[in-house]
Symmetry: C2
Subunit: 532 residues, 2 copies
Amino acid sequence: MARTAHSSRLRCCLLLAVFVSQFVERVCGVWPLPQEIQQSGDSSGLSPQLFSFTYSQDSAAQTGCSVLDTAFKRYFSIIFPDFTKEGLHDMWLEPKAFVVSVSVKTRGCDGYPDEDSDESYNLSVSDGQAVLRSVTVWGALRGLESFSQLVYRDDYGAYFINKTEIVDFPRFAFRGLLLDTSRHYLPLHAILKTLDAMAYSKLNVFHWHIVDDPSFPYQSRTFPDLSKKGAFHPFTHIYTQSDVMRVIEHARMRGIRVVPEFDSPGHTQSWGKGQPDLLTPCYKGSMPSGTFGPVDPTVDTTYRFMERLLKEVKFVFPDSYVHLGGDEVSFACWQSNPNVGKFMEKMGFGRDFTKLESFYMESIMNITAALNKTSIVWQDVFDYHERPRSQYVVEVWKQGCYLCEMRRVTKAGLKVILAAPFYLDLPIPTQNWARYYGVRPLAFRGTKEQKKLVIGGEVAMWGEYVDATNLHPRLWPRACAAAERLWSNEEKTLNADLAFPRLEEFRCKLVRRGIQAEPLFVGHCKQEFNGL
Amino acid sequence: MARTAHSSRLRCCLLLAVFVSQFVERVCGVWPLPQEIQQSGDSSGLSPQLFSFTYSQDSAAQTGCSVLDTAFKRYFSIIFPDFTKEGLHDMWLEPKAFVVSVSVKTRGCDGYPDEDSDESYNLSVSDGQAVLRSVTVWGALRGLESFSQLVYRDDYGAYFINKTEIVDFPRFAFRGLLLDTSRHYLPLHAILKTLDAMAYSKLNVFHWHIVDDPSFPYQSRTFPDLSKKGAFHPFTHIYTQSDVMRVIEHARMRGIRVVPEFDSPGHTQSWGKGQPDLLTPCYKGSMPSGTFGPVDPTVDTTYRFMERLLKEVKFVFPDSYVHLGGDEVSFACWQSNPNVGKFMEKMGFGRDFTKLESFYMESIMNITAALNKTSIVWQDVFDYHERPRSQYVVEVWKQGCYLCEMRRVTKAGLKVILAAPFYLDLPIPTQNWARYYGVRPLAFRGTKEQKKLVIGGEVAMWGEYVDATNLHPRLWPRACAAAERLWSNEEKTLNADLAFPRLEEFRCKLVRRGIQAEPLFVGHCKQEFNGL
């Protein structure tokens, strides 16, 4: 069917208000909402044959920049999903070139994103060209994502983009997503796909809760028995060093940090299988009962083991953060064990086991600091010992007054990450994404300095009821709502009703990109079932 | 790796109590629980090369029986998922033949399952052979499913089956599953896969809630405008006649009935787009407001239209049942319309609009009866008019005292289907499958004759929040729990704790067969991620 570009051209956003044909695809929004965006109805046609990304002359990064070269290729496929060289030629009577010119101030193409990475970008789309400017390659990635979301198609498959000006930067530097690969093993493809969707939503920290009580899938080179005996299966249900590298590189290419969590002293049942003297033997009366409790904090071997493990972790995971857990330690087993009792006495802890946990966590955090890594811990560690001797980052996870906790943590001068209102794993109604629009991480009484210590938030997908069969629909699009609240201007994104049609549209984009994002309500996406 | 069949042989069920190696797959149960099952630890090895299904000499069905020929082929692939002719030869030092001999009393290979179909079967598995006897081909299908579930593999991939005796039949004849293809369109592959999983769970009625307010995806040959104007998209979001035939044939091959629902007079907004005079014009004061309400029950054209539509439905859908809906009719629009008012007066209905709905439904049910079809309706129809003039089947869906309703319906001499406790579409906790174990459809006061009128139950997957992205994990394995309660002996399946490990095992079987069934709790399946 030969049609001129003109006759089929749709002025997307302006037209929306006037008339929406059943077949018009409304693809003109950007998710999460940019800090500033101005769009007009003037559109340019895009022809895949004459479309290109290029480095502008003044850019510090040029061809050979791994992160951006790969991103150009990736976004070309995302923008033109069914492009074939011959394909669409006859549809274009007047094909016009379109160039996206990218300019980056600092190079850093071979590094990793970190907590100080500047993710800001400016994007200017006009007739036949777009100019994308950023300080870092990570900012350029965010801009490319926004650019890709601006492109839309009409009913004949032709591509358009409207004149647009965007000035954008994230509200919070830490916008995380936690996956739990211990309660259920998640195959590599499920993790990689999650990273893809994170990049689409501009989430930038993959918090890998890699091991826990049920299984130890991380294949350690220092302690291979940990996964050999502690994984669900020693060959099929593990992450080899090569798997981990692949995750880290896939994440790096998308500007995503990988923060591993090796949670101790609790949540370590699976560790005990491959490291026999690590856990505390529980006692029944004066005899060992045969069961084991948390890591034994009273013996030197524990700290030597942890130091060697953390050294490996430092080597394998380039991020400056490492999550040390420290949550939900049950004291019953420690209480039952006579050696622990003696140690408590010697240390003058009385019967206060929170002191014993603090002692253990301080030691582990000291090891981590000596390795030049920043520790993140769950809030329990702070709660047990509110006067921190060292600097660490606190992750707030407990329901209830999480803002009170944020206030206390920042008052103590520690950085904080908010996860409590973003627990996604429970099979609660899909509609509860709207709740995230009521979450205001800074709405506690405190000084400006305190507020600055709130470095971000995190959605948590625990694994009790989640594996590869239901991971993606349970994550998406709900995690996108949290992602918007962590990236965008709070005042402009307080209204879930206004967000609803935008999120519906973005959810359709995710589906089109192969992410199994579940529907928000009755309706349909135009190209919804391709590839699902 | 060459190993004798003997050394790797596992006496599955008996061994379970004694010792379970990490790598042993515990595949010896049958879901839903057969009425009688006896298993021993004696096992036979199965070699794909020397395995066959055959018709026994005394069987009424022989080669050429479409349903069973196809089932033999299908179950061979299910039992030996990675079979290649050359493949596993070297693993078998003493390959032995195994023959499953199937004997069916009545032929009926080219018919459709119906409400009177006998699904009973006897299965006897001994050394080197199995004998499957049933009255109908549908019973043989149930037996083949049970047989396939009895086969298990050891860690080296070798196949085994234990000596087993099964006498089995369903508790209820109607074990339904509702899919809603109007609120979201479900692509054909999602429906076909649902039918596969239904067969694995021995569910036997696909209740196709094919149209509703949001869209009309059924492409009618009599009224093509209904989908042309009422579907989400007139080409991509419809079920053509050929699609419907494919669904019906796929279902038939699995002994599943397809009962379509054309819900009226409410839930018909999408009908109005392609059939302009069908719906009641709503009024604001003395003027039409431009919106429309339920089907207009006051004009002859409505009944002529419904008769022609139902004639087509009769022709397209072979099942003797057709679901006519009749639920949730809002009376506001009827109340506003002066013509409806006049009609009410003429008929002597006063201002009682339930009488008007009853009048409409009676008329539609008469049309259906004249077409030799049995009507199913939602309980509203019965509630409005408890003294039925005609025979129909009532589907109980309202929460609250559904047993009270069952009692009333059966007291009126009508057949009844219970759906109320089996609404699966809401994103409630996965664990709520356990609730189904407390559902006792016959636990109301009533005579034996009344109890006989309870013909079964149905799980309902409404479409507000469900499309192909999340359908399967939301359906499975929860629907399996309901399926067991509808098939098995109630007294033997009252305990959800006892069912838990069996359901976990069955869920792994579903995953292995390519059904995206979500996990019940922490853990893993051995071959869990193949094909997902």
